[in-house]
């Protein structure tokens, strides 16, 4: 046992160093700076929790929470619903070309945000963009001039669409793995009892998929609420502040306005929010493991 402890800790030591150096220490640093009035380039003085209190009365912070909600909700629902349906459709061994279809669905996920973001910029251009071209072909004349990325109403939706396109593949794979884990006897038993496809779906598949669905919802929420790139690529936070989500808010305050202290405070709050959900998701994961 002592031998186990000695070698176990030796093998794990790089992880401990990594964890201290790139997680514990950075977070402690950020907590320290969040309690100061530091602006980058100037010395920092301790001011206590003032940054946190200011944040709660800052209308720009409220606005960014609102913007995050407006984008995350449709993106999360779209991603999860589409991924679940696609996984149900793909969960059929007799389906021809299944491998190819899976590859095509996962393609956006494995490519980078910038190259694909540039394409989506051009897709959303009013009058001359790809979407306008498609609307014109379909005879939807009055949709051709829609300002997808530069109107307050449509910009959050445009970012949600780009996000759904980019991430649905990942969750399709996860749902599909969950479906494959359901023992075939369950379906056979249902069929013997005379259940039709819909009854099998509602009484066998959906209840058995509940743990994995909850995991996907929680982890997809954390992941989507933290996306910086789709907003940066399509709108940069605009028009005005309609899509200035929390990640954009943090980035601007720290790296552009150099408000080191205030941005660190916002960063710590955002980290705590995400960590709360991440821990919930990890616990769900643990649950599915030992079942």
């Amino acid at each position: 046992m002592r031998r186990d402890r000695k070698y176990g800790l030796t093998f794990v030591s790089p992880a401990i160093i990594y964890f201290l150096l790139f997680w514990i220490l950075p977070v402690l640093l950020a907590i320290y700076y969040s309690l100061t009035n530091w602006t980058v380039g100037h010395p920092a003085t301790f001011i206590g929790p003032k940054n946190y209190i200011d944040l709660f009365t800052d209308p720009r912070f409220h606005q960014s929470v609102l913007a995050s909600v407006k984008i995350t909700v449709p993106a999360l629902i779209g991603t999860c619903v589409l991924a679940f349906i696609l996984a149900l459709l793909l969960n059929d061994d007799r389906l021809r070309g299944r491998r190819l279809i899976m590859l095509l669905i996962i393609l956006p996920f494995v490519t980078d945000w910038v190259a694909t973001g540039l394409v989506w910029q051009l897709i959303f251009l009013p009058n001359v963009g790809v979407l306008s071209g498609i609307f014109a072909r379909l005879g939807l004349r009055h949709w051709v001039a829609l300002r997808w990325t530069s109107s307050r109403q449509l910009a959050p939706l445009a970012i949600a669409i780009f996000t759904i396109w980019k991430t649905t593949g990942l969750y399709t794979i996860i749902f599909l793995a969950g479906l494959k884990g359901i023992p075939a006897q369950q379906f056979e038993a249902a069929r013997v009892d005379g259940a039709n496809d819909w009854q099998t779906l509602f009484y066998i598949t959906l209840p058995l998929m509940r743990p994995i669905t909850v995991f996907v919802l929680v982890s997809a929420f954390v992941s989507i609420v933290g996306f910086f790139e789709p907003v940066f690529m399509l709108t940069g936070g605009g028009p005005a502040d309609a899509t200035r989500t929390l990640p954009i808010f943090l980035y601007e305050n720290f790296f552009q306005f150099h408000k080191g202290g205030a941005a660190s405070a916002a960063g710590i709050l955002f980290l705590l929010l995400c960590l709360g959900f991440a821990v919930i998701a990890a616990r769900l994961l643990q649950y599915t493991y030992y079942e």
Binding site: D4, R5, Y7, G8, T10, F11, V12, P14, A15, Y18, F19, F22, W23, L25, P26, V27, L29, L89, L90, I101, L103, I105, I106, L107, P108, V110, T111, D112, W113, V114, A115, T116, L118, V119, W120, L122, N127, V128, V130, G133, R137, I173, I174, A177, G178, I212, S219, V222, S223, F228, E229, F232, P247, Y251, S264, L273, C274, A278, A282, L285
Partner: protein, 280 residues
């Protein structure tokens, strides 16, 4: 299954595949066009005039204070390859410790690291920047490598694979008097082919696609990685942006990870499934 429901199934899947692939097809088509053919209504899916010269132009023209897209590509390649190699070595080493030895605090440490894998990068970017700044690593490519050479995700993946190796193999070697490090290196590591492929492809794609982090830590354009260089293309001072070159550069940026992914698709998908906790 009835024929009609089978047709409906293909129709729905096909529709989604079109949504998934059309942006790539449009990008590919635009990358061969003359500038005036890029944004047209109706859309020309086939370029009216083929202009393959867009590619060498996009790749080699030094439009960014003397640097070209090819320069950024080499930076990206360097970062992604070194990160992947380090990750393979370090994660299997650490994963072995987590999988095959019992010590107090092991599971707590592992689950702590697992929780970090679910955090979005934007939530840690400020703390991470503060430490890199303290270590005086800003504006160095190592700032893009070191924080990602070992991650909760890679440790967890390696551990999952190593759990399946029977303990008898190691016990037999111990009876023969082999040291623990020799056992890892000569007996365990050679058995980890699939794990290495998975770690390699996942780390490579992660590293190649990084954007926010390099944008934050790199300041001189000579160090820029490909996504950063690409994002600069859109900020051209010319009135008319060269969309055709932009799309050629984007196509070039998407090709290396795509090729690598297609070669290692099975280990990659296996890795995603292992991370979702469905294959123990």
């Amino acid at each position: 299954m009835r024929l009609s429901s089978r047709i409906l199934k293909y129709l729905m899947l096909g529709l989604y595949c079109v949504f998934s692939v059309v942006p790539f097809l449009w990008m590919l088509s635009a990358s061969f066009k003359r500038p005036e053919d890029v944004l047209t209504v109706p859309i020309h899916w086939i370029p009216p005039v083929w202009q393959p010269g867009n590619y060498p132009k996009a790749l080699l023209e030094p439009r960014f204070v003397g640097y070209s897209i090819s320069h950024f590509m080499l930076n990206s390649l360097f970062v992604a390859v070194i990160t992947s190699l380090l990750s393979i070595g370090l994660s299997t080493f650490v994963g072995y410790g987590f999988a095959k030895f019992k010590f107090r605090g092991r599971d707590a440490l592992l689950w702590g690291m697992l929780s970090t894998t679910l955090l979005p990068f934007s939530s840690v970017v400020i703390p991470l920047y503060l430490i890199i700044r303290t270590l005086k690593l800003t504006n160095s490519l190592w700032a893009l490598i070191l924080p990602f050479a070992l991650t909760g995700q890679s440790i967890f993946l390696a551990r999952q694979f190593i759990l399946t190796i029977p303990a008898e193999l190691m016990d037999a070697a111990r009876v023969d008097g082999a040291g623990e490090f020799r056992i890892f290196w000569q007996i365990v590591f050679p058995l980890l082919g699939p794990a290495i492929a998975t770690l390699g492809i996942m780390t490579f794609l992660f590293s190649w696609n990084l954007f926010l982090w390099p944008m934050v830590v790199l300041s001189s354009q000579g160090q820029f990685t490909l996504p950063l260089g690409l994002s600069l293309m859109g900020m051209g001072s010319t009135f008319l942006i060269d969309y055709h070159l932009w799309m050629a550069a984007s196509t070039l940026a998407v090709l290396p990870p795509l090729a690598f992914f297609l070669i290692l698709q099975r280990p990659y998908l296996r890795g995603l499934e292992a991370l979702s906790g469905l294959k123990g």
